[in-house]
Symmetry: C2
Subunit: 187 residues, 2 copies
């Protein structure tokens, strides 16, 4: 089973804005970025299944690839809770500092920790590999892609942040006989 993960293209968010669950629109460069992504994608099979985060920055891309897109809550970006929509500069410095040092286990106020994200992303992955599809495309967020790498490689969660995950990037995995093979990352 071939699984392609795609991160959404650039957003129109102002620099320094804290957003995860917030539904931020895509940048005007979408058409150009989508074309670059298409160049990287292989020809997809007729029965390829498409999954997406329900947030429009992912869904718009997924809808450009297929008429039938399954949205899944477990593919949403990290929930920053009370910090959603705030500028990082306006967040209480001490609370932000605590979170930065302990984000693996500590959630933002009323949000979720990276471990929470790993749990739900991992649950999606375990369900996906049981489908026995020949191909799947998953359009999601940088946090989810890192969480999946943590799950697949049994990485220490913080190490997943060593992986750069660009806007519009493509990551290919192959699942077979209970083994996940990583073909390439961040193409």
């Amino acid at each position: 089973m071939d699984i392609y993960l795609i991160r959404h293209t650039q957003t129109a968010a102002a620099k320094g804005l804290c957003y995860g669950r917030s539904d931020i629109a895509l940048a005007d460069s979408f058409a150009r970025e989508m074309e670059a992504l298409r160049q990287k994608l292989p020809e997809l099979a007729e029965d390829c299944r498409f999954y997406s985060s329900a947030l429009s920055r992912c869904k718009r891309l997924a809808d450009s690839l297929s008429d039938e897109v399954v949205t899944d809550e477990r593919l949403l970006e990290l929930d920053f809770g009370d910090w959603e929509g705030m500028f990082f500069d306006d967040i209480d410095a001490e609370a932000l500092n605590l979170w930065t040092r302990h984000f693996v286990d500590v959630p933002p106020p009323n949000g979720e920790s990276f471990t929470d994200l790993c749990r739900r992303a991992g649950s999606f992955w375990q369900e996906l590999i049981k489908t026995e599809l020949s191909q799947a495309v998953v359009v999601t967020h940088a946090g989810v892609i890192r969480a999946l790498l943590t799950h697949i490689l049994k990485l220490s969660p913080a190490a997943a942040f060593q992986f750069r995950v660009d806007h519009g990037s493509l990551h290919k995995f192959q699942y077979s006989h209970q083994y996940t093979y990583i073909h390439y990352l961040n193409l």
Copy 2:
């Protein structure tokens, strides 16, 4: 500091041959594969330093990129000891099976274990990041690239085999402030 790892292009080895330290020649497709690699490589800086395994399948590629190539013993492929140059089919099945299950800690007879390889590859890496070069290109083997991923991500050694490392593939890392960022793998 930007570090590019390159795996040598295809070899002329017969299918099923066991080789690590053996100096196996490259396939006739070298010129074509080299051209494909050049397309993937960015423009390299004047002061970029080139490192290579001394084995001709790496050195030939490195010499095509630079007139000044530093060879380093720690960049050699796994030493298969007594099995070098044998066909896997001719190796004692029980010994091979034992090694396959425990290659992380168990060396082939008179060879080295994957842990040994991780140790020497890690030692090369630690020296490299201390050079404060702006750019380095390292031409080496799949085993060494996996060993470096183990070292950089503090991965369980067996998990490094989840990464596909193609002939002529390019892997980009960035080292800065004691942190290694992985830009892409297996381009």
